[in-house]
Symmetry: C2
Subunit: 343 residues, 2 copies
């Protein structure tokens, strides 16, 4: 009984913003699982900004997706048929099966998910890669101390929302930046940030200065561009800048016009003794046990909240992804690929 997987493949490398033609939806017949393998049905597929980088053939921390290859993604799946000694039919797993409905796996990189801990979709969000990025980047690199001011952009997004809430839990003053008044209301009302600024409003620099009367001690960088420009003059001595993403730059084509801001940055690095550090969460999985323990505790106590933005059907993944890069999502963006048996 052959299984058909519907895949979203990279059809062409985008120039600038990805377009529908850069993706191809293709049906592929999967082989039956061999000895030591298993067939999985994808339930949830993650959409994250980093995937834009994988579409380019540029030097980075990970290889690009080849043209004609399946787009990469984290997924939550159910084991449908198993010839693998460690997995049984019905197991829920988190894995990197990519933008597709089914996969045959030899179990490498596959972890079981405990549906009793939290809804299984959270393994792609607060309890998965984005949450871990927020946790490690803020705590290990940002090192916030009670009373300090922490600024985070994309504050209603999968990473930013967690960064700000952990900073609040640690006793910091937390300022978010988001892309609409509705998102800002959510960030202050639901997530408990001290303030949130809409980066589409004019005068971001002045508004940020007013919201940070004691300067900025930690800036969690996940967007780049205009937000960073507004943050730079407000950074205090010994400020820390974990850098996990630059979504505003991912689809940029060509050079950047002057003036050159690099000398200004380096002068601030020197005179304010800034620490700027890039990180990729895959280098830091040793922190996963601490992360899972802390995060699931904060979630069950109600101290940390999250919001998921579901899109139905794998065929809608490209459009949802293009929207993500424009900030059209509201909360952690997830494609609901097939029925969730735990709900």
């Amino acid at each position: 009984m052959a299984t058909i997987s519907t895949q979203v493949q990279l059809a062409a490398r985008p120039v600038g913003d990805p377009k529908p033609e850069d993706f191809a939806i293709v049906k592929v017949e999967l082989p039956d699982p061999g000895d030591g393998e298993m067939l999985c049905r994808v339930i949830y597929q993650s959409l994250d900004p980093y995937m834009r980088g994988r579409m380019d053939d540029a030097k980075s921390y990970a290889k690009p997706v080849p043209v004609g290859g399946v787009m990469e993604a984290g997924t939550v799946a159910e084991v449908v048929r198993s010839r693998h000694p460690d997995f049984r039919q019905g197991d829920i797993v988190v894995s990197r099966f990519g933008w597709q409905t089914h996969a045959v796996s030899d179990g490498r990189g596959v972890q079981r998910v405990d549906p009793a801990l939290a809804p299984i979709s959270t393994a792609l969000g607060v309890l998965g890669m984005p949450g871990m990025t927020a946790y490690v980047g803020l705590l290990d690199i940002g090192q916030p101390k009670a009373g300090e001011t922490v600024v985070v952009a994309a504050a209603s997004g999968a990473v930013g929302a967690v960064v700000g809430q952990i900073a609040r839990i640690k006793g910091c003053r937390v300022i978010g930046i988001a892309g609409s008044a509705e998102k800002c209301d959510y960030v202050t009302g639901e997530l408990g940030f001290d303030a949130c600024l809409n980066h589409r409003d004019p005068g971001l620099g002045d508004a940020l200065a007013a919201a940070c009367p004691d300067g900025i001690d930690v800036y969690f960088e996940n967007v780049g561009g205009a937000v960073f420009d507004a943050v730079l003059p407000l950074l205090n001595a010994f400020a820390r800048i974990p850098v996990c993403g630059l979504i505003s730059r991912y689809s940029h084509v060509g050079g950047f016009p002057g003036p050159d801001q690099l000398p200004r940055l380096m002068r601030a690095v020197l005179t304010s003794r800034l620490a700027i550090q890039g990180f990729i969460i895959t280098d830091r999985w040793n922190r996963f046990p601490d992360f899972l323990s802390d995060m699931s505790g904060w979630i069950s106590s109600g101290e940390l909240r999250y919001r998921e933005d579901f899109v139905d059907g794998i065929e809608n993944a490209p459009d949802a992804f293009m929207g993500l890069l424009k900030g059209r999502n509201f909360g952690k963006l997830i494609v609901r690929v097939s029925e969730d048996p735990t709900r």
Copy 2:
């Protein structure tokens, strides 16, 4: 018996490169030392690039020298007359008396120097602030591991020469960058760097790439500008960049023309997980005992060498300082203000 101190004062804030008119040589009558004070005669006065920053009225880690004030500097001096309980006539001390021949001090910030340890002038160089800057910046922030490649600019200078030699002692491959063929010969021949490039030669980027076949793991930043541009594409994943100075930028006037290099830097920070950290040695004096112990050991064993570039007479300090900013010195630049009684 009144004492006359010859001082170099800041006459005007320089626009761009300092000019002779920006300095004034003034004779001032000092009061007699009161109870708890002492009169000191300056023997050696340090000249260092950071002093350029003190001449500007700009936000920085330290207050600017006021117009009409004495230029700041580290000094080695002899106690001439003491009414201070902790210091006796004839004591050799390191202090921050500035660009002048004599000073009355209450002892704050004054440390005794042991003439048996090394020539007392080294308290301004290898065994003083520049050596400590090299030691802490390289070891604590750069964290070099044996086999890694370390690049340092201004490699024959007071800081760079120590950075490279400590890196060599730690088993690294060390590439220096300096401003003349003669300096490069000294850096490879006397100091034992693996290679040294003349930044005045064309094609620095290609030469640096050829000299660093395994990329760069630590770049000790003390100049900025073109050298940093050449280093950036060669940085390995997890490279560390301690930033202690930006001599190429200190006298820059106006903006910087495009293209904007900041997005390129931030992309490298993210994809290569770079760590960039500014530091000021005055924040890190707790490391002084380790520093003094390690450095004096390396000096007495012959593992670490140094070169001093003496200029005679306080009246020649401004010209020597202007030359320092152009790389005219060769080794640690020191003004010999008066006779050294220990030589």
